[in-house]
C-alpha cells in the first residue's frame, strides 16, 4: 500500500502525456497504465528503476505494435504490458535489430504480460506488443519498463 500514492501520481502524469499524444486512445490507456505500473512497482523495492516514460494506444485482437528501444549491454531490462479490458490477453516479446528473439524470459497472466532481457550487445531492440485475444473491438494497452543497475 505504501507505493500506491507515488504510483498513482506518476501514473496520472504519464497517462496525461499519453492521452494528449494519442487522442484516439483516450478512452483506453488510463486504466491500462495504472495496471502496468501496478505490475512494475513491486520491482522498484528490489532495486529496479522503473522509468516514468510510458507508451500506449489501442489495438484490435491479433494486431501488433512495435516499440523501438535503445538498450545497453550490461543492464537488465524488464517490460510490463497491461490492459484495462477484462478477459483480454496480451503478449510482449523482445527482438533484436535483425528480428531474432532476444528476451531471456516472458510470460502472460490475465491482463498483464512481461518480458525481460539482458542484452548481449548494445543497440536497437524491438519490443513487440500484441493483443492476442479480446472481447472488445479495440483494446487499450500501456507499456512501462524498468532497468537494473546492479
Amino acid at each position: 500500500m505504501k507505493l500506491l500514492a507515488p504510483a498513482f501520481r506518476r501514473s496520472a502524469a504519464a497517462v496525461l502525456a499519453l492521452l494528449l499524444a494519442a487522442p484516439a486512445a483516450r478512452a483506453f490507456v488510463d486504466d491500462a497504465l495504472s495496471f502496468a505500473y501496478e505490475a512494475a512497482n513491486p520491482y522498484a523495492e528490489r532495486g529496479w528503476i522503473i522509468r516514468e516514460d510510458a507508451w500506449g494506444g489501442d489495438l484490435g485482437a491479433g494486431d501488433k505494435k512495435r516499440v523501438a528501444a535503445q538498450l545497453f549491454r550490461g543492464n537488465s531490462y524488464m517490460f510490463f504490458l497491461a490492459t484495462d479490458v477484462d478477459n483480454a490477453s496480451l503478449r510482449v516479446n523482445i527482438y533484436d535489430a535483425q528480428g531474432n528473439l532476444a528476451e531471456s524470459k516472458s510470460w502472460q497472466r490475465g491482463r498483464f504480460a512481461y518480458a525481460e532481457i539482458k542484452p548481449r550487445s548494445t543497440g536497437t531492440y524491438n519490443v513487440i506488443v500484441e493483443v492476442t485475444s479480446s472481447p472488445e473491438e479495440r483494446t487499450g494497452w500501456a507499456l512501462v519498463y524498468g532497468f537494473q543497475r546492479k
Binding site: W107, T122, G123
Partner: protein, 268 residues
C-alpha cells in the same frame, strides 16, 4: 463459450502462462508510423553500465558550477533545460548533493521561462529534499520524472517540438559525458555504449520535421548540421567500428554543441 471459460479457469490456476514466441519475425511488417514509439533512455541507464566497467571520475564530468539564466529564446531554453537535467544525472553519479540541489533550482528557473514551472515545482522540491537525504536512486527517478513532467506540460501547451528539444539537449549532454569518459580510458566495451543508431535517427528525424520557424533558428540549425555529422560516426557497428579516434570526434562535436547551447544562455 466452454473453451473460453476453461481458458479463464486455467489462467486462474496457473500463476503465469508462457506462450512460445516466434523465434524470429519480419520487422518489415511494422509500418513506418511506429517510428514515434521510441524508448529514449535516461542518462543513468548508460552511466550504470559505465560504473560496472570501472570507476569513472564523475566529478570531472560535472558541468560548470553555475546556474544558467533563461533567455527569451524558448528553443534555446528547451535545449538548455535538457542539458541541465542531464547535468543532474551526472551530479547524482558524483553524489554531490549541493550540486544536485543547485541543478534542481536551475531546472525551476528554466522551466519558468518556457511556462512549465508549475509542472516541475514538486519535482524540484523533491530533488532538493532527496539530495539532502542522499537518496540517490530516488533523485534519479525525480530527474526522470522532471523530464516527463516538462514533456507533458509542453504537449498541453501545444509545444511538442520544444519538448523534443529538451530530450535532444539531454541526449547531447549525455553523449558529451559518455564520450569524455570513454576517451579518457578507451575500451571496446565502453565504446560500444555509443552505438545508438536508433536515437540519432530519431532526433534527426524530429529536427527535420520541425516547423520552419524553429529549424530556421541559428542554434537549432547548427545542432541539426552537427547531428548530421555525428550520425555516421555513431552508426559504425561495434565492436570494431567505434575506434578511439571516432570517440574523440564524437566528443568534439558534442562538446561544441553543448557549449553553443550554454553560450546562448541569457541571450535573445
Amino acid at each position: 463459450m466452454i473453451p473460453r471459460l476453461l481458458f479463464v479457469l486455467l489462467l486462474g490456476l496457473s500463476p503465469a502462462v508462457a506462450q512460445k514466441p516466434d523465434k524470429s519475425i519480419d520487422l518489415g511488417q511494422f509500418p513506418a508510423d511506429t517510428v514515434e514509439n521510441v524508448v529514449v533512455p535516461v542518462p543513468s541507464e548508460i552511466f550504470a553500465v559505465l560504473d560496472k566497467l570501472g570507476n569513472p571520475n564523475w566529478r570531472a564530468q560535472l558541468g560548470p558550477e553555475k546556474s544558467y539564466p533563461a533567455s527569451p529564446n524558448r528553443a534555446q531554453v528547451a535545449l538548455l533545460l535538457g542539458t541541465v537535467i542531464a547535468d543532474g544525472f551526472v551530479a547524482v553519479e558524483a553524489e554531490d548533493s549541493e550540486r544536485v540541489k543547485e541543478i534542481g533550482r536551475n531546472v525551476l528557473t528554466l522551466a519558468e521561462a518556457i511556462n512549465v514551472r508549475k509542472s516541475v515545482v514538486a519535482r524540484s522540491n523533491s530533488i532538493i529534499q532527496k539530495a539532502d537525504a542522499r537518496q540517490w536512486n530516488a533523485v534519479r527517478r525525480e530527474f526522470d520524472g522532471a523530464l516527463q513532467d516538462v514533456n507533458k506540460a509542453m504537449i498541453e501547451l501545444n509545444d511538442e517540438q520544444l519538448a523534443q528539444l529538451v530530450s535532444l539537449g539531454g541526449w547531447l549532454r549525455g553523449t558529451e559525458v559518455l564520450t569524455s569518459i570513454v576517451k579518457e580510458k578507451y575500451s571496446r566495451d565502453r565504446a560500444e555504449l555509443l552505438y545508438q543508431p536508433l536515437l540519432v535517427d530519431y532526433f534527426s528525424g524530429q529536427l527535420d520535421r520541425m516547423s520552419p520557424r524553429l529549424r530556421g533558428q541559428p542554434l537549432v540549425g547548427e545542432i541539426r548540421r552537427s547531428l548530421g555529422r555525428i550520425g555516421p560516426l555513431i552508426k559504425k557497428s561495434p565492436p570494431d567500428g567505434i575506434t578511439p579516434e571516432t570517440v574523440a570526434e564524437i566528443n568534439d562535436l558534442s562538446v561544441q554543441m553543448v557549449d553553443l547551447i550554454r553560450a546562448k544562455a541569457g541571450r535573445p
